[in-house]
């Protein structure tokens, strides 16, 4: 998940292995990182509580009167609240995707401009060859922070977030008498009719949940694999914000400049001039 905001942050050199230094740049901004982990937490809670709502698995409490305990009501309530937070974050992210330019101003979104990567045969070939171990190099796209596979999957992810939010609102509205869920469900009534009633809406909700589970598993594997294969420090990056530069993939002996960053102020290393630090996550 890349940011389009370019932040002038000091570059740093880390030693991954003895004699194998990497130039790292700040690729994940503070909001991106926080949002990533908040989303992660929300999705875990939403899946667990969603499975409970679909088929309650917690043991029942018969010692108390029904009027005193609200297990299902609370699970449902917090499920819906978490869903609204996730939807809000999704909408912010989609707005950023569509309308925030590379320089951080409003306009045609920087990430939207990267869409051609999805339609480039060469990009697909390079990326699939890399993932299928037929090529050692991580493909580098000058016009996109994402590879074509990534771009497609993340687009699907946000589309699925919208679908699960819409179906979730339609399912939540009948429990309420007024409020944002009720009037937005009224607006989305044609969707409910098109799907064929609440039972089908629920089925769609369930299938999209499985998409998220599959996405999470694949996402974690791909990120870890990428990080290990290319040494681009992506896993570290989503915590610290710093990841290895892309054109710096292969291990090579450290230059004097890199081992002594103080010397850089006088004379820039040729590596850093070749590719100015660009925002973007890559894995």
């Amino acid at each position: 998940m890349a940011t389009s905001t370019v932040r002038a942050r000091p570059k740093a050199v880390v030693l991954q292995k003895p004699g194998r230094p990497r130039m790292v740049v700040y690729v994940f901004g503070r909001y991106i990182r926080i949002a990533h982990w908040v989303r992660n937490g929300l999705l875990i809670w939403l899946v667990l509580s969603g499975i409970y709502i679909g088929n309650p698995f917690l043991a029942r409490n018969l010692a108390s009167e029904a009027s005193d305990i609200f297990i299902m009501a609370q699970v449902r309530g917090w499920h819906v609240i978490a869903g609204w937070i996730l939807l809000a974050m999704t909408l912010v992210r989609i707005f950023q995707f569509l309308f925030i330019r590379q320089d951080g101003k409003l306009g045609l979104g920087a990430e939207l401009r990267m869409a051609p990567v999805m339609f480039s045969w060469r990009a697909w070939r390079d990326q699939l060859a890399f993932y299928l171990l037929m090529k050692r190099d991580h493909p580098h796209f000058t016009y996109s922070n994402y590879g074509p596979l990534q771009y497609l999957v993340y687009t699907m992810l946000y589309a699925s977030l919208l679908v699960i939010s819409v179906t979730g609102i339609i399912l939540a509205a009948p429990y309420l008498s007024s409020g944002i869920a009720v009037w937005s469900a009224d607006i989305m009534r044609p969707i409910e009719v098109w799907m064929g009633g609440l039972a089908n809406v629920r089925a769609v909700h369930r299938f999209v949940m499985w998409f998220f589970i599959l996405f999470t598993v694949a996402h974690i594997y791909m990120a870890v694999w990428n990080s290990m294969r290319t040494g681009n420090l992506l896993i570290e990056g989503i915590v610290s914000g710093f990841a290895a530069k892309d054109d710096d993939v292969h291990a090579r002996p450290a230059t004097d400049d890199e081992l002594e960053p103080a010397a850089k102020t006088a004379k820039k290393s040729p590596t850093s001039e070749k590719q100015p630090p660009k925002a973007g996550g890559k894995h």
Binding site: R60, A66, V75, L133, A199, F207, W225
Partner: protein, 420 residues
């Protein structure tokens, strides 16, 4: 899936919600009075009057007024309408009705007729001018056909057509033929609908296709509204789904038509809002156990069943189904499924059967048709996909380890190249 083709709007002079409640209902009452005055000016189609019928059936005035009060409340009308509903029942003799069976089990008529008590609701069937009804009428064969034709001709554009059952359209409609001339369901529905003032689709089969339309739907059965859509017939349709529809909802709809001369406001699936505004879940007597997380765990869970816990885990579809069963109940308000200890099966929803099965498991247990006979539920499909992903990941990770080892060996073999 099911696009209701009619969304009846109240006429221009009808009150809107902008008025205060008092003003709203007063205007509504005035509208009803005006319409019933017009209706009263017409000749009754039957010599039978309400009074003689009540006397003949041994129904007391008290019982009749109870039924009137229940119907008024079911229609979401205040008590100033009690007497107007009674008057509508009296004037129902001026309302011609044609009751046509299609691909159905006649369960809806039977539910209306076979009440344990004298059946105050069933009175209405005697009272309305039922011009044609295969279940009730004495004539058969050509004589019955003649009655139907005469009624359509005489009350052209005035009668209410009640349909029960779905219309099979496969094979030119040959799955359903009725009468000595072997008219198909398609021909019958087209003919009756074109001349009707309004159509009531009684029961889920007539409303959405119901059980005959369940997958794989060999007869290509359609609900009445869907069928009329394909034939571009614009007669307004009220859907009264449920299997069978409760007598209160049929009687209420007919009385409402007698009272106002127009169809009620409908929801997105063509059902009257007064009956289908809330879900079963919202009016359920076991709802507090749902919110408390107290569920019947299975059919051998005697304690849970005896304590009347929520039936969600044994497959209640109440949260997905809209109807007023919990309020009006069946068999003269005696009971209804959840009261009797079985979950709702969602019979009043479009796509009923396919979308609501299995009836005794929560909805994630629904089985989807897949190619090669691999039908499975959503969680199985997801788990298989997850397993496939795990296998793929293991294979890819293994391949990566092998490849990395090969690369490292290669790098060791040719170190001089790198140093150059």
């Amino acid at each position: 899936m099911n696009r209701p083709h009619t969304q009846t709007e109240p006429p221009a002079q009808a009150p809107t919600q902008e008025h205060s409640p008092r003003e709203y209902y007063e205007r509504l009452a005035a509208e009803a009075d005006a319409h019933m005055d017009r209706l009263e000016a017409k000749e009754p189609l039957k010599e039978l009057t309400l009074g003689t019928l009540l006397k003949r059936r041994g129904v007391t005035r008290r019982e009749f007024l109870k039924m009137v009060a229940v119907t008024t409340a079911a229609l979401s009308l205040p008590s100033i309408f009690d007497l107007r509903v009674a008057r509508a029942a009296e004037l129902a003799t001026r309302l011609p009705v044609i009751w046509q069976e299609l691909q159905s089990c006649t369960g809806n008529s039977i539910a209306l007729l076979r009440n344990a008590n004298p059946g105050v609701d069933a009175l209405l069937l005697d009272l309305i001018s039922l011009e044609y009804s295969e279940v009730l009428m004495a004539p058969s064969g050509q004589a019955a056909e003649d009655v139907l034709e005469a009624a359509i001709e005489r009350y052209d554009g005035q009668y209410i057509a009640v349909f029960e059952g779905s219309v099979p359209v496969a094979d030119g409609g040959n799955y359903l033929t009725i009468g000595p001339a072997g008219h198909t369901g398609i021909e019958i529905v087209e003919h009756i609908s074109r001349h009707a003032a309004a159509i009531v689709a009684a029961g889920t089969c007539a409303a959405y296709g119901g059980i005959p339309a369940a997958r794989p739907n060999p007869t290509a059965a359609l609900g009445i509204a869907d069928f009329l859509n394909t034939r571009r017939i614009n007669t307004p349709v009220v859907n009264l789904p449920a299997c069978p529809v409760s007598s209160t909802n049929i009687v209420g709809t007919i009385l409402e038509y007698a009272m106002f001369g127009r169809l009620p406001q409908l929801d997105a699936f063509g059902r009257p809002l007064w009956a289908y505004r809330d879900r079963i879940h919202d009016k359920c007597e076991r709802r507090s156990h749902f919110d408390a997380g107290q569920f019947v765990e299975g059919w051998n869970d005697q304690e849970g069943l005896k304590r009347g816990l929520c039936l969600f885990k044994v497959g209640c579809k109440g949260p997905m189904a809209y109807n007023n069963c919990g309020v009006v109940r069946y068999n003269e308000g005696t009971s209804w499924p959840i009261m009797a200890g079985h979950g709702c099966i969602g019979c009043s929803e479009p796509g009923f059967w396919d979308t609501m099965t299995p009836f005794e498991e929560p909805l994630p247990g629904r089985v989807y048709p897949l190619p090669f006979g691999l039908d499975a539920d959503a969680d199985t499909i997801g788990a298989v996909a997850l397993g496939a992903a795990a296998v793929g990941i293991a294979a890819h990770a293994g391949a990566t380890v092998v490849k990395s080892a090969l690369e490292q060996r290669q790098a060791k073999q040719e170190p001089p190249k790198k140093e150059q």
